[in-house]
């Protein structure tokens, strides 16, 4: 008798599936997930976990969190990060301390793996939801993440 119960079950599951898609169909006009991108450029909000490019946030006084420890440079599997660093006397303690001169990030080589961000002990670098990365010259994709004249925030140690 399982023959007929198979048919019954088959029809039932098919109808269940159809009611699910039918429900989608009915409220597609309101709930469409399509982003009409160039039109809604102003209001478009990317998702929290979107990986666009690596950036280094600075506060209002042009200070950042990067101590120049080079963990990110070592963690990067394809050498997309280069850190040019220096030593300078820290006015607070009077000792010589490592500091970054330039945090160079090659967006053209980055695979968005996120290992650098995980490796950073001070959370100095984060993901930015910025995806409009096309440029006419690939040298424009080599970016210096610390802003000119910026310095590390006082008291940040790795």
């Amino acid at each position: 008798m399982s023959y007929f119960s198979d048919i019954y079950k088959g029809i039932k599951t098919l109808l269940t599936g159809m009611s699910v898609t039918g429900g989608y169909f009915l409220h597609a006009r309101k709930g469409a997930i399509t982003q009409e991108y160039p039109d809604n450029r102003e209001t478009l909000k990317m998702f929290d976990r979107f990986r666009g490019e690596v950036v280094m946030p600075h506060n209002a006084d042009n200070r950042h969190y990067c101590t120049g420890c080079q963990s990110c440079e070592i963690a990067c599997p394809n050498g997309s990060i280069e850190i040019i660093w220096d030593r300078a006397v820290d006015p607070a303690t009077g000792k010589k301390k490592k500091k970054i001169d330039k945090h160079i990030y090659h967006l053209s080589m980055c695979t968005m793996c996120g290992l650098c961000i995980e490796a950073c002990p001070t959370d100095a670098i984060v993901w930015a939801p910025n995806f409009e990365n096309s440029v006419y010259d690939r040298s424009a994709l080599t970016k210096v993440l610390n802003q000119p004249g910026s310095s590390v925030l006082d008291g940040i140690e790795d």
Partner: protein, 359 residues
Amino acid sequence: MNFLQMIIPLNITKTISDWISSIMPETAASYTIMVVIAVAYLALFAVAGLYLVLLERKVAAWFQLRIGPNRVGPWGLLQTMADALKLVSKELTSTIKIDKFLYNLAPYFVIVSALMAMAVFPFSKQFQAFDINIGVFFLIAISSIGVIGILLAGWSSNNKYALIGAMRSGLQTISYELSVGLSILTMVLLTGTLQLSEIVEAQRTGGWLILQGHIPSIIAFMIFMVAGTAETNRAPFDLVEAESELGAGFHTEYSGMKFAYFFLAEFINMFIISSIAVVLFFGGWLSPFGITENIAWFPEVIWFLIKVLGLIFLMMWFRWTFPRLRVDQLLTLEWKYLLPLNLMNLMLMAIIIWLNWTI
């Protein structure tokens, strides 16, 4: 000459045919009229096919919570027109080792057999190009010619994916043709005629056939829709062009307009299957409960189109809901379930008619 009676309002066709007959001898006139009707049908269904493609894309988008084509023309209405223009302008490429003659012949086989079937449908009382008394039989015969085109395409492309796709198509059509035929036969038992216009007329007094035949009719309708979807090679029965396994199946090697013929034929076939279902189960061009029966100017073709679009929507619903079947599942479904059910259903229908239990 009943193929002269087309499109009712204003009697344009009658005027044209009178005019042609007046300037030509009898035989020349009838040939001219045939050509005119053929060209009209060709143009009509090419455009209808294009709009079915657009409808499919819109419906698919809505099923997937997307928006669908909305850039070309208002609401994207000109999208498929633009696609067709693009395809016409494309180069017709082919590989070196193809069988040239068959390769070029195959798309025409598919599209011509699809268009030929259109001729016998009674879109309304007067809008029917060719009303033969074996209409249903003609339809079944024509609709299985298309698969020869698919087999030819797969074979002549000299490409293993194309050939696998074509063989699957052959397999599928041979199996499901049985179900289509038997479920149609069940309904023909009820009407006792193969002529499509008379099948429609039989529903004027007794109500639509799906109601007249109640249980066996409903079962026949369900089987017909399943087998009909399989006949058109659409998902969930699209093993023939299974993109993930076979590239594009039998039309892998086709480009430009020849590809477009295959594509268009799929949509016209969908229209044909729905039209057969409308004529056999839902009263063709008859209005529901006869609400427009006494309004003389009302174009009954609208009812036909509404019903056909409803069934086409159902097929699209299938397509965007169900996953593709495996080959063995396909054959199990046909030979283990649909065919025995269909035979039982045929018996049931015969008994019901014999005992006069129809409504």
